[in-house]
Symmetry: C2
Subunit: 121 residues, 2 copies
C-alpha cells in the first residue's frame, strides 16, 4: 500500500515541478527535511528547500521531471526509495539517481531525506 | 545504542579504507546493498561494491577517509544516517555529504544504501 501512496506523492512532485509551484513542492517534504543538492551544503527545512528548488529551476531551466521508483522498502512509518529522475532542462536532458527517505507525518508520506547525483559522467 | 553500533562500523570502514582492505570494506555492506557513486550507474552487491571502491581508491589516490555522523534515526532494524566524509586524496582533500540507509542483518548493522555527492562546487 505504501508504495502506491509514495507513487501518488511522486506524481504530485512531478506536477508541482512542471508548474514551478514551489510552495506545493516544499509541502511534500517533512518540516524537518534535508535535501542534498550536488556541489553545495545540506539544505534544511521547507523554506530553504523551496528556495533551493527555485534556484535549481531557474539556473538549469527546469521544464519537466519524471521520477521512476526502482526499489522501495518500508519500516513502520519510515520508508526508503531508490530511483532515477529524468530532468528536461533548457539545455537538454539530465538523468540522476536518487535515494529518498520517506516519513509518514500526520498520516501522509513526505520526503524526509532527498539526495541525488548524476548517473552519467 | 544503535548510534554507537553504527559509529563502531564507521570506524571499521575508515580503517579498511585506510588499509585499502577491499574485502573488509565490502563486508560492511549488506549482501544486497546498493552504492551510488557520482557520475556512474547504481552499483549492486558486495562484489561490485568492492570493485567500485578499488577503482575509486586507485583513480583518486585515496589515502584516508573520516566519517562524521550529523544525524541518525532508527526504525526497527533499519536506520538512516546523514553525515559528511573528508577524503584525503593524492591531490588534496575532498568533502562529501552522504546519506546511508543501514540495515541490521544477522545482528550486525551494515550499509544497505550508500549515496553521496560533493559538498563544494
Amino acid at each position: 500500500m505504501s508504495r502506491s501512496e509514495i507513487a501518488a506523492v511522486n506524481r504530485q512532485f512531478e506536477d508541482a515541478a512542471r508548474k514551478a509551484d514551489l510552495d506545493r513542492l516544499a509541502s511534500l517534504y517533512t518540516p524537518d527535511a534535508m535535501a542534498f543538492p550536488p556541489d553545495g551544503p545540506i539544505v534544511k527545512g521547507r523554506d530553504n528547500i523551496k528556495q533551493m528548488w527555485g534556484s535549481v529551476a531557474q539556473q538549469m531551466g527546469l521544464k519537466d521531471i519524471r521520477l521512476s521508483t526502482l526499489d522501495f522498502e518500508q519500516a513502520g512509518d519510515t520508508g526508503y526509495e531508490v530511483g532515477e529522475a529524468t530532468l528536461t532542462l533548457s539545455g537538454g536532458t539530465a538523468v540522476v539517481k536518487f535515494v529518498v527517505v520517506w516519513k509518514k507525518v500526520d498520516g501522509q508520506w513526505r520526503l524526509h531525506r532527498d539526495i541525488w547525483n548524476a548517473k552519467n559522467g
